[in-house]
């Protein structure tokens, strides 16, 4: 019995448990699709495609919510304590929980992409490898932040409350509620440093072959797409680092109410 099969067993278990809780399953599985739909429908004429592509990034804050609330519930109900006393390596428990949320995000991403191409009239993605990099990076950022902040969240109710500002903050910062250009200069600088912003920019660049890091969004080639995404990559990795640091500092397996 190897590590991968143990982690996969944990992932499967997370899926089974999620599907048993209808309300949670609805939120986690369908709400991101709904938000993506609204986001594309509301876009100004001519900007539908850019809006739609940005909507792909909606899945990451939802992954954050799935992972934090999962961790908090299992910790407070002492399921983690039981799991850690089993034959499972600790790393496989983490991996299973992260893979579960990431797989959901991947399927949703593909569904949103298909919708964008079929209904909104989006073209085929220009730079698929960059898109994959952006997806994995987004998943890593929000998984690290989820694990890093779970230790600060006392219970499931608070986990639900925390998820909302994370979601709206991410959407605002990524310019998905209104264009960032309406913000004052300093506001734009701050927004650029938010966790989701570089991911959204990178996905847009990958999908449409333009550098959305610049206001004029000039066309970029395949390799150039990676080059112009370097700064965003740096910001995203910084957030991964912050998440991991916070996890080391604050993560706990035992209930807070112990």
């Amino acid at each position: 019995m190897n590590w991968a099969s143990m982690a996969w067993a944990q992932t499967r278990l997370d899926f089974t448990v999620m599907l048993r809780q209808r309300g949670l399953a609805f939120t986690v599985l369908l709400l991101p699709l709904f938000l993506a739909f609204v986001n594309t429908a509301n876009s100004v004429a001519g900007a539908e495609v850019a809006g739609a592509v940005g909507a792909l990034a909606v899945v990451f804050p939802f992954s954050y919510m799935t992972i934090t609330s999962g961790i908090v519930v299992r910790r407070e109900e002492r399921v983690y304590k039981r799991l850690r006393g089993s034959a499972l390596p600790t790393s496989a428990i983490f991996a299973g929980d992260v893979l579960h949320a990431t797989l959901i995000g991947a399927v949703q991403g593909v569904a949103i992409l298909a919708y964008v191409m079929a209904v909104v009239g989006g073209p085929l993605p220009r730079n698929v490898p960059l898109m994959l990099v952006a997806f994995l990076l987004g998943a890593a950022v929000f998984a690290a932040l989820a694990i890093g902040t779970a230790g600060l969240i006392p219970n499931y109710e608070v986990a639900q409350l925390v998820a909302l500002p994370v979601l709206f903050g991410s959407l605002l910062g990524a310019g998905m509620m209104f264009p960032l250009s309406v913000l004052p200069e300093w506001g734009q600088r701050v927004a650029e440093l938010m966790p989701l912003t570089p991911i959204v920019t990178m996905i847009r660049t990958a999908y449409l072959g333009r550098d959305y890091g610049q206001a004029a969004a000039p066309k970029v080639g395949f390799l150039e797409g990676f080059q112009v995404s370097a700064a965003g990559l740096g910001i995203a990795l910084l957030w991964v680092g912050i998440g991991l640091w916070s996890a080391r500092r604050y993560f706990r397996w035992d209930p807070r109410r112990a």
Binding site: M1, L13, R20, R82, R84, S86, A87, P89
Partner: protein
Amino acid sequence: MNTTAAIEVRDLHQRYDDFEAVRGIAFEVARGELYALLGTNGAGKTTTLDVLEGYHAPTEGQVRVLGHDPFAERAEVRHRMGIVLQEAGFYKDLTVAETVDAWRRWTPHALERGAVLERVGLGHRAQVRVEQLSGGEKRRLDLALAVLGRPDVLFLDEPTTGLDPEARRNVWELIKGMVTEGTTVLLTTHYLDEAQQLAERLAIMHAGRIVTEGTLARVLGDRGTRIRFRLPAVRPSDLPYEPGLGLRSIKLDGDAYTVETHEPQRDLRTLLEWADEHGWELDGLEVRRPSLEEIFLEVAETEKVAA
């Protein structure tokens, strides 16, 4: 350290913030032995188990399970240990069968689902959601998951607390069966009779220390049955007792007497006849074995005097 022992604890101290839950204990459990840690709440039993199960590194001292450090070398031992925690959660929306199946996916050499459920007496409840199980049934599911991987060492933290007498006896039978098959068991309990039923050796913990350790006979030592009553206006020397065979001690606290004896029937008869002769009423008369609580307190008191 002795490498043939399944569990070794040496000079273990465990601190949480500024509270020292375990204050320097040592014991060994041989392979295939059942060893019981007794103590009241807060004695440090669960903390000791937490360290042996690899949840925490010892603050001070050394522990070994099957020759390995259970915290630093968890990978070496995690599949060889079975753990029943005092309190642990289940995925309450899953059925019993789904729970066991999930655990089987990451447990090497796992027993068949049917076999393990039969063993703990939950075979007929396989399709029931965990949430709907009774307290006793949940405890049996705890045990099922703990023994699933045929562990070499089984840790049981108060496995029968909250169970009815029949369920307790069933759990005892299961534990005895495991020991017969060669499993080493470390068990904590509040109940003296549980230790009497199961343990070859035991330790009594009090306030983070082991105050006495050894075979049950040795630990209970020569503590006798207590006869208690209230009788004002007599002196201890008026009582119809001669120091001698079987009579351990007579204590007076206010007007309350406690006579400790190994011959309760003889000494009670003597007392009742004597009281009848004088026409006295023995107020609050009771005859009983010492409670674990009393033994703890006595043992702690003796230790204090000795130290």
